[in-house]
Amino acid sequence: MTNELNYILESKNVNVYYGELHALKDINLKIQKNSVTALIGPSGCGKSTFLRVFNRMNDYIDSFKIEGDVFMEGQNIYDKKVRVDELRKNIGMVFQKPNPFPKSIYENVAYGLKIQGIKDKEFLMDRVENSLKQAALWDEVKDDLKKSALALSGGQQQRICIARALAVEPNVLLMDEPTSALDPISTAKVEELINELKEKYTIVIVTHNMQQASRVSDNTAFFYMGDLIEHAKTEDIFRNPKKERTQNYITGRFG
């Protein structure tokens, strides 16, 4: 990777502690704009924690402590002046299990805008339609937007969650194992979607499925025991990783 590339997120010497546990150790990583970056590693390696560093979702954990700087487009997001709700409008998140609100499809997608105080019905409808289209769900649900989102299939629910995140027009989309609860066909749809979304958004995805990482991502970062072991182009990681630990992990020879 050369320097001319445009980086949107950057972590500088980030250390994270949960009480006594040193969960992330001196992580330096830059994330390229309009690319898909996959974070891989065994359970408990810190990849999910690292993902949540970017939208400060760890702040709710009492014992959480962070050192170092995290920048989004040059702005330190852990600065006292930064408002967390503003930050999260810029950095959307999709979770492991589809977690639509127990409300209608429309209400789900419009929620992020409504809590910003937007009441204009036409504007809301426009955004809802757009977001659902981007999430490749519009054709499936356009006739029953009033239906409860919980009545949809798991794959559709997850795409609702993606549409919901897109509705507030973020720059970055964080995805925490977005397909681990989905069947292969829904998984394929979500992966296809990720590939399309990267035109407009920067995507960081945590995944346990290495083939998924190799399919959807441009860059891959391998974490192990809180250390960032290797970060490179995905094809380099999967063809010829530089570090032995990475190789052991991706070929399944671990421990």
């Binding site: 999260r88 409008k89 992020g112 919901r164």
Partner: protein
């Protein structure tokens, strides 16, 4: 005899024992209700509901008692519901895990177990005397509200805890504040559980006698209350009063009033069950 045969016999024996245990309570209840129904059913008519209490049993009615109960019910709910739910939300969503919060938690659980007469004495001292509310509906309602507050708080917390954390995470992830998350997501999703708890608590309050006697509810009130500061009586006190009279006619009145009181309690429990089922069906995670 083989071991498996022995086991089978033991199994059967316990089954019969269990059936006996189950039916013991039910049979007792059935006998009690049957007795009451035989005594009181014929006494119930529109007049019984509309008449004021009187010295003559056949002219006596429960108008003051049930209106008093209704007043007490409304005010108790108005006081206890917001207080209890707000406290529950605070403890579950805002309260940090500290020694203070665990102290609070232990005390709330303890409060739920305090005998109701103690609440009566507390109400007498604080509401009747210190706040000089007198023997009024308001004093009674405050006292009962205090009594059921712990139940509502516990029920609220249980209901809130049942809302999956993923819903909160989703809301925070979209930039919602804590209050927005509680108001738009957590409360609507836990309302079924909260209502159920509140209704069960209130149906307990309807049957309470001791604290109200201490606070000063009167056995004989010759008028229906027209403001929260009026004196009052409630159904259980009316029943208690009638039962202790020597005339047989009053015993029949008491039976009839018990039927009405049981009816109210059953209806409220029914509403609670209905609400729970309805909300559970709507939200399945």
């Amino acid at each position: 005899m083989t071991n498996s045969k022995k086991n089978r016999i033991k199994d059967k024996l316990f089954e019969y024992f269990g059936i006996a245990c189950t039916f013991f309570g039910l049979v007792m209840l059935a006998i009690f209700i049957g007795n009451i129904l035989i005594d009181g059913l014929t006494r119930i008519d529109l007049d019984f509901l509309q008449n004021l209490p009187s010295r003559k049993p056949e002219k006596s009615g429960i108008l003051t008692a049930w209106t008093g109960s209704l007043w007490i019910l409304c005010f108790t709910t108005l006081i206890a519901f917001p207080l209890g739910v707000a406290a529950g939300i605070y403890l579950e969503e805002y309260g940090k895990k500290s020694s203070l919060s665990s102290l609070l938690e232990v005390n709330i659980s303890n409060l739920a177990g305090v005998p109701s007469i103690i609440y009566g004495l507390l109400g007498l001292e604080i509401f009747v005397r210190v706040f000089s509310l007198g023997n009024s509906i308001l004093a009674g309602a405050f006292t009962l509200a205090l009594l059921i507050l712990p139940i509502i708080i516990v029920a609220t917390r249980e209901a809130i805890r049942a809302v999956p954390p993923s819903i909160r995470a989703a809301s925070y992830g979209l930039g919602a504040s804590k209050w927005q998350t509680v108001w738009h997501q957590v409360l609507p999703a836990s309302m079924g559980g909260i209502f159920t708890g509140v209704i069960l608590a209130i149906s307990r309050a309807v049957g309470e006698t001791a604290p109200l006697i201490v606070v000063g509810a009167l056995a004989y009130v010759p008028f229906t209350p027209s403001s929260p500061m009026d004196e009052f009586t409630v159904m259980p006190i009316q029943i208690f009063n009638w039962v202790s009279r020597p005339l047989h006619g009053f015993t029949i009145n008491a039976a009839a009033a018990i039927i009405i009181l049981l009816l109210i309690t059953f209806i409220m429990n029914g509403i609670a069950v209905y609400l729970r089922n309805k909300w559970q069906k709507k939200i399945s995670w």
